[in-house]
């Protein structure tokens, strides 16, 4: 075979691999959405689960997933923004930054089940809270801190030096420059990162089994705030949608456990799709808003290619 033929064959192989991967994703979506058809029905999305009969819904699990996501973002965004600012603006290069980076790397490498077990020690046993939504949120915050910190740091570092210099030259302090000039310019990139991180938190499961627990109390909106039946009480067990699928699969006793798992998987897939779309949309919209021109859209993309 000539070199040219070999080249043609390999080109064909590469195309086949790419087509297979795209096909696989389409196939996954097709399977999940077809097996979980009917997931959009309100009585499923908002209905109460049933332990014995078919036809139960995933209402509490969906509330738990979203509420836990909200609490986790509320905890992790300020923390990682602060850490990102510290790494990008204040920390002196050298041993300290090296150590923080090493810790971030170590944290990022930990399997989520291990972080979940740490959560069991720290937020469930040590605090005496038992399985709580807050415990789950704290544990998932640990998982997301490294990624979010990195996102914030790069977004700040990517702000053109001219913006910073301009602000400093006008007599602004370092902090004023950061808050009023640098951060606004960095926001589009950060928001995209935060939305993608939100998608990951939403899909996370292993970390919640031993922190947020496998059960949900009967939720009632008219319950007392301090009661574990109140949906917004963070000190209550909260089985998320992902954990629900896992539980149905391993110990589901409801007759339609399989169908509920399939429909829940479909809900998760749609959520993943929406999070990804939202990240794409907001990044382009915000970039346009903050720069006032369409050309800026190309800025960050170009950088991505170079990196």
């Amino acid at each position: 075979m000539t070199a040219r033929m070999i080249d043609k064959v390999w080109t064909g192989i590469f195309y086949a691999v790419a087509a297979a991967v795209i096909g696989l994703l389409v196939f996954f979506f097709a399977v999940v959405l077809s097996k979980g058809a009917g997931f959009w029905q309100p009585e499923f999305l908002f209905g109460r689960p049933s332990n014995t009969q078919a036809g139960g819904g995933i209402g509490p699990q969906l509330i738990n997933s979203f509420y836990l996501l909200g609490v986790a973002l509320f905890l992790s965004v300020p923390l990682s923004l602060g850490a990102g600012v510290y790494l990008a603006e204040y920390a002196k290069q050298g041993r300290i930054v090296g150590m923080i980076r090493l810790c971030l790397e170590a944290m990022a490498s930990l399997p989520s089940i291990v972080v979940g077990l740490f959560g069991l020690l720290a937020f469930v046993t040590l605090t005496g809270w038992g399985y709580t939504l807050l415990g789950g949120a704290l544990a998932v915050t640990i998982i997301n801190l490294p990624g979010l910190t990195r996102i914030c740091e790069t977004a700040i570092l990517d702000v053109p030096a001219s913006i910073r210099e301009g602000s400093l030259a006008l007599g602004a302090t370092r902090w004023q420059t950061l808050v009023k000039a640098v951060l606004p310019a960095a926001i589009p990139q950060m928001v995209t990162g935060v939305i993608l991180a939100a998608g990951r938190i939403f899909g996370e499961a292993a970390v919640f089994i031993y922190t947020a627990g496998l059960t949900t109390p009967m939720l009632r909106w008219d319950a007392d705030w301090s009661s574990s039946a109140h949906p917004l009480n963070v000190f209550r067990p909260a089985e998320t949608l992902t954990v629900h699928i896992w539980k149905l699969n391993s110990e589901g006793i409801v007759p339609d456990a399989k169908l509920i798992a399939a429909k829940s998987a479909a809900v998760l897939m749609v959520a993943v799709l929406l999070f990804n779309l939202a990240a794409r949309l907001t990044s382009s919209l915000l970039a346009r808003h903050f720069s006032g021109s369409r050309r800026a859209r190309r800025g960050p993309m170009k950088r991505n290619k170079a990196a």
Binding site: A3, R4, I6, D7, T11, I13, F14, Y15, V17, A18, A20, V21, L25, F28, V31, V32, L79, G82, A83, Y86, M99, I100, C103, L104, M107, L110, P111, S112, I113, V114, T125, I142, P146, R174, W175, Q176, L178, V179, R200, G203, A205, A206, I209, Y210, L214, T242, V243, I245, W246, N249, S250, A261, A262, A265, L268, M269, V272, N276, R280, K305
Partner: protein, 298 residues
């Protein structure tokens, strides 16, 4: 115009508070990491300090029978299971990922690249339980049909994990390939090579450290993945006899048994030791990645 004294003082306070908050956040990361290591280590050594188990028994024996008399805590099954399933996933995934990375960088037309990027992002975004669910619904029946048995098997675990780590390896390998200077490609074209010759003999070797980093990260991710593996691997307490045989992994045993055991019992302590072992293994992967990176700098 000079700002008033009060205004200046306010600004200085603001500056100080901002800097302090940022500093606290930075140091909190170190604190959390150290706390996690200390907590898990303290719990992990109780098997040996409190329950009197021996380290060599635990690591070298494949006899796990916590309910037996006397109870046995040989964790070799889980260690071997984790290794086989993640190395298998790597064998499935790494060649595909490398091919995809090469395709995206050098072969695909622009529109196909802009289609493949979101495809990979979505593949990363699919939650692990959904991968597990897909494994249970599609793969396990297929394995049952081909090989007989229950279908819950090492093979099912390998394929599910292979899917899961594909985007991780692809994106890191693609970055590594993109960093190879354009001149390399042009020079080999100039010497009359075909595209495949240039890619296979010049570009890929030039990017090999970056690709290796991606592969190690993929391996680490596979090693630590819990639920998807637990759902398809069968969770039997014995070493696998073949690809079609069920087994258990470090993560799957932790997922299943930690809640069933009572705090402080030898069984429970043994599980915490396994959790600490997982932590040590993931740090080992980090060390390997750092070493690979350092070689590149030299």
């Amino acid at each position: 115009m000079q700002p008033t004294y009060a205004k200046r003082r306010h600004r200085r306070l603001e500056e100080w508070m901002g800097r302090t908050f940022a500093g606290i956040c930075g140091w909190l990361i170190v604190l959390i990491t150290v706390t996690m290591i200390v907590f898990l280590a303290a719990k992990g050594i109780q098997s040996f300090t409190d329950s009197g188990l021996s380290l060599s028994d635990m690591l070298l024996s494949a006899h796990w029978d916590p309910n037996g008399t006397p109870p046995k805590y040989g964790a070799l099954i889980f260690i071997v299971g984790s290794m086989l399933v993640s190395l298998g996933a790597l064998l499935v995934s790494a060649p595909l990922a490398l091919a995809l990375a090469i395709f995206m960088n050098f072969i695909a037309p622009k529109w196909l690249v802009s289609l493949l990027k979101p495809v990979l992002e979505l593949l990363v975004g699919i939650p692990s339980v959904v991968y597990g669910w897909l494994g249970v619904t599609l793969l396990v029946p297929l394995v049952r049909e081909w090989f007989g048995g229950s279908g819950f098997s090492l093979l099912a675990g390998i394929i599910v994990l292979g899917m899961m780590i594909l985007p991780t390896i692809t994106s890191i390998a693609a970055d590594a390939l993109a960093n190879v200077p354009k001149a390399y490609m042009e020079a080999s074209y100039g010497l009359g090579s075909t595209r495949w010759q240039a890619i296979s003999r010049v570009i890929v070797p030039a990017a090999k450290t970056g690709i290796a980093t991606g592969v190690v990260l993929g391996l680490a991710r596979a090693f630590g993945e819990a639920l998807a593996v637990q759902m398809v691997i069968g969770n039997t307490m014995r070493l696998p006899s073949g690809l079609d045989s069920p087994t258990a992994t470090l993560t799957s045993i932790l997922t299943m048994d930690m809640a069933n055991t009572i705090n402080g019992t030898p069984w429970n302590n043994a599980l915490w030791t396994l959790a600490f072992l997982l932590l040590l293994i993931s740090f080992f992967f980090i060390a390997v990645i750092r070493l690979v990176g350092q070689r590149k700098e030299r």
